[in-house]
């Protein structure tokens, strides 16, 4: 089971902070997961097109072609602004 987290502006735009689902067999990378989510409609399309959008697998930021097995914690978030 995939655990997906959304933070900051993304969480607000999607009105969702977290969801779980089984990864479809044909979705094997972070890029493909994003495409899957963007197919949900305009709101998802817009939010996940945010400039500089980041993705982390198991709390490590990674590239958009990183493989997924389906048992990860995946987080999407905008560029960080702490400090």
């Amino acid at each position: 089971m995939l655990n997906i987290l959304y933070f900051a502006r993304l969480r607000e735009d999607l009105n969702t902070d977290q969801e779980q689902f089984d990864l479809p067999e044909d979705v094997t990378t972070t890029d493909q997961l994003r495409d899957l989510l963007m197919n949900r409609g305009e709101r998802w399309q817009n939010a996940l097109s945010t400039e500089g959008l980041l993705v982390a697998i198991n709390q490590d930021v990674c590239d958009w072609n990183t493989p997924l097995t389906g048992n990860e914690e995946v987080a999407f978030f905008p560029p960080v602004t702490g400090g």
Partner: protein, 168 residues
């Protein structure tokens, strides 16, 4: 000489006390010759393109009334620990303490503290600034400002990326 290396990382809603952090850094280690601290405070104007230059008059920028900080629990601590380990690999450090607040803050409130102790001042200065630069660009915190014009998420600054890139 045996030097105990200590790292403390706290993400918390409560305010922090510089004196307590400093006392912890200073404690029981006569090999320490230098302690540097950085404290980040909430300013009362937004940083989207505006500078603090005196030439700006009061109505050229929006006054920020509150700031709300959220983070990614777990990942934040992991990223900060990793930054500290990178700093320890580059410089000879004794203690490192990081406190970052989350939740709602008012102008002049303390947001973040980084303190470093070392035998040498060059190491203490470099490590403290290195940790702040990477905290800014890698630690998963996000700021939302409430201004006289409404609410908005703070944009990341390319100047922060530039500061971090200096260390590469």
């Amino acid at each position: 000489m045996s030097v105990s290396k200590q790292t403390h990382i706290h993400v918390q809603t409560e305010d922090f006390d510089l004196n307590i952090e400093y006392a912890a850094l200073r404690k029981d280690c006569p090999a320490i010759g230098a302690i540097t601290t950085f404290t980040g405070l909430m300013r009362d104007f937004n940083s989207n393109g505006h500078s603090a230059s005196e030439s700006h008059s009061a109505n050229e920028y929006d006054s920020v009334t509150t700031l709300t900080l959220e983070h990614y629990p777990g990942m934040t601590e992991k990223v900060l620990s990793d930054i500290v380990e990178q700093a320890r690999a580059r410089w000879e450090l004794v203690g490192v303490r990081i406190v970052h607040r989350i939740g709602e803050m008012q102008p002049s409130d303390q947001i973040v503290f980084v303190g470093v102790s070392s035998a040498h001042r060059g190491d203490a200065f470099a490590a403290c600034e290195f940790i702040m630069d990477f905290l800014k660009t890698q630690a998963p915190f996000w700021k939302k400002e409430k201004t006289t014009e409404g609410e908005r998420w703070v944009d990341a600054k390319t100047s922060d990326d530039d500061s971090a890139d200096r260390w590469l």
